[in-house]
Amino acid sequence: MNALLAVDVPPISHVTIWGNGPLGINKTVVIYGFATLATIVMFWLGTRRKDALVPAGLMQNTAESGVAFVRNQVIMQTMGVDGLYWLPYLTAMFFFIFFSNITEIIPAVQFPANARFAMPMVLALATWVFFIFIGVKRQGPLHYFKGALIPPGVPKALLILVVPIEFISTFLVRPFSLMVRLFANMLAGHLILVTFAVLTAALWGLQIQAIIAPFSFGLLVAMTGFEILVSFLQAFIFTILTAVYIGGAMHPEH
């Protein structure tokens, strides 16, 4: 009966705490190393023939369509032509996040490295530093913080209420939600896959209850497909939110 209700799922500490190898290298670090290498190698090989008019080969096609995707779908939609300066950073970040997410559904790895707090936090802090830096650089510190903290058209008496709210939402909640969104989405997807995999395995060993196993397995397959979409979508959303924040600091609302 325990197995039927999926009570035998491993405790949550198995998902959040990992044993350390030599030099503290564990599965997460190895996956991040793979994601970094994959991003570097893809653009290294993809840009060797960049002078050729017609792109050829898997690497060049992927690299060029990836750059075009970030330029057209992310930067042009949110920052405009000014934002093309950020194209290399955003493209590299998009592919890095995507490669470290997609290991969630690769057999025998099956773990999204971004289901750990550290790297989403570093990326979110980088975004935080960038948009404040760009805002201060483009508009000057006084004008930038005045524009960010005081929305236009608010009565003076309300400012005592509005300014703290704007401060919290712009400078505290933005990086925090950016980090939590990526981390929690990947952790939730991983937990769903673990739950259905463990449930299928537990039901398989039983007698009459094994009838339910195909349904559980079917949902596992469907969820695996869904997680491909989520891996891509989270990388896209992280990139586009970074672009929106930097673009908002570049072009103040008058």
């Binding site: 779908q73 939600s177 969104r181 939730a188 979508l233 959303i237 586009i240």
Partner: protein, 88 residues
């Protein structure tokens, strides 16, 4: 009243802490999922209406829709993370 006394006696019993923690986690995530559920429904529904009315602006609407979903979904994810943080 008798039920209240029984509940209080149960609540102060350390053996029931694990069960109460589990209930609390369920309530936290369930409560946090209500608002974002409605919100994402509104965002996507209106985005589909906009795309149906003006198919030529579908690209812009889709990008903005994902942005809206991301902002709305953050609240549910706060609840998801909070439900792990709660301990008995």
């Amino acid at each position: 009243m008798a039920l209240l006394h029984l509940l209080l006696a149960q609540a102060t019993n350390p053996d029931t802490n694990a069960g109460l923690t589990a209930i609390g986690r369920g309530i936290v995530y369930g409560g946090a999922a209500i608002g974002p559920g409605i919100g994402i429904g509104l965002v996507v529904g209106n985005a589909i209406t906009a795309m149906a009315r003006q198919p030529e602006s579908a690209g812009t609407v889709r990008t903005t829709m994902f942005l809206g979903i991301a902002f709305t979904e953050a609240l549910a994810l706060f609840g998801f993370v909070l439900s792990f943080i709660i301990s008995g």
